[in-house]
Assembly symmetry: D2
Homo-oligomer: 148 residues x 4
């Protein structure tokens, strides 16, 4: 199974139009990323404030398929993928009661914080990528078998 994250939509996530403010869905995706890092044994405080190495997002996109309301119980599926020695991408599927309500992607590059030049992904991220990749592939195979 790919990594999944459960998240209730909060009042703070909404705006005066009565639905989730668009950028907050990307924030919820980032929470799923944080949870999956932690599930792989990574210390979040050290990871996100490491003075030597960072993984800034260089691209993000999101598609909204249905309105999302306060109290909605979202399920976020996270599927990361290595793009190169220094880059990875995460695809997210956000669903509500088995209906897809949004999809998103974040692309991350590993950098040296002081020079801000690219550097090789460290082993902890390689492990996390492999762990989640394998889980996603198994889920794909299972789904393929079920639909045969």
């Amino acid at each position: 199974m790919p990594f999944t994250y459960n998240r209730s939509v909060r009042f703070q996530d909404t705006d005066a139009a009565g639905v989730v403010y668009f950028t907050n869905i990307l924030g919820i995706c980032h929470e799923a990323y944080e949870e999956s890092l932690e599930a792989a044994g990574i210390d979040l405080k050290a990871f996100f404030s490491n003075p030597a190495m960072a993984f800034p997002i260089v691209h993000a996109n999101v598609d909204f398929l249905r309105p999302i309301f306060c109290g909605d119980k979202l399920l976020v599926n996270l599927m990361p993928q290595k793009l190169s020695g220094e880059k990875f991408e995460i695809a997210y599927e956000i669903s509500l009661a088995d209906v897809l309500v949004a999809k998103a992607i974040t692309r991350h590059v590993c950098i040296d914080v002081s020079s801000r030049s690219k550097q090789e992904l460290p082993s902890e991220i390689i492990n996390w990528l492999e762990m989640n990749r394998r889980d996603a592939e198994e889920a794909e195979r299972r789904k393929a078998r079920e639909t045969m």
Copy 2:
């Protein structure tokens, strides 16, 4: 036991000083309030976008006792109290590994949305107040017995 809410500190909650941005602790308290309403059977979407009745916050305060970092596993205790026929207050204690890290209060008034005049608290809020009050009192008594 008073109502408790578990909340991991997210990267988004932090600022460039490396700790949680101060207003986000109040936002986390509001999440605890939402969870406790839901635990009392209240539909959050209907409650927070009711065109007839609302419960705006008229006062809030917060004290910070320790710095709070990304990844910290916070526990929020929530203790609501009726102040008058139209008002209630919630006290929050935020702790980390049994150490109190912040305390907060929000004060809410029940209003008619169109006129914005005060009105009596509805039965669902009275029930929620009684439910949580009783739980908090029991916890107090238990604590008193234990320290005897």
Copy 3:
């Protein structure tokens, strides 16, 4: 000249990595959109909480070219474009001291709020699109002449 919006980066926009949290750049773009609507004589309160008509974002994307820090004086250029009778798109260029630091797009669809079905863009949005389109085209022509 295309519509431009000046925005100082706030402490609240940053995260523990010391730079702007990625979703906040999209929020800053939305502020530019709000300012441009207001500059076209649109009342923001009525526009964004109209119970009959809304313009939800169905797609957004953002590319980050440079890190952005607290106190940075951003300039946001906004270039909207009609996509169909019910849809428009806004392209944003975010620069700092004449250097492009980020680019973004938001795509909006006009809906009837209760049925959530698509409907024709109203005249106030058509006017706003034409006003900003003409300005952007003039800027393009001027730039072309200058580089001849």
Copy 4:
């Protein structure tokens, strides 16, 4: 005149109840603080990510007197005051068309970041306090004369 900060209420500041989400008023107050520091010649990036010295907020409170809507043009008055050698407090008055809509206070303590122990306020903050104090006192005297 005390330092004043002009701020339009953004769509992002609102929630599904159609008004400003309560914590965002404190965030707007913090923006006024940032602007006043900058007006006193303080570099915000260096100030807020100084690895040696920080000014965390140890207490904040806010009172809401009127609902605040998207598009509202707020004026924030900022009045800082030294509390001790290591502490200062800022009082904020938020008004809309000369009507007070909210009031807030933030209390800050100067600390050594690594030990998190209190330390003396640096000269740049002493200067900023004196500059804003004098301005606030003059405004008080002027107001007193006008009402005589």
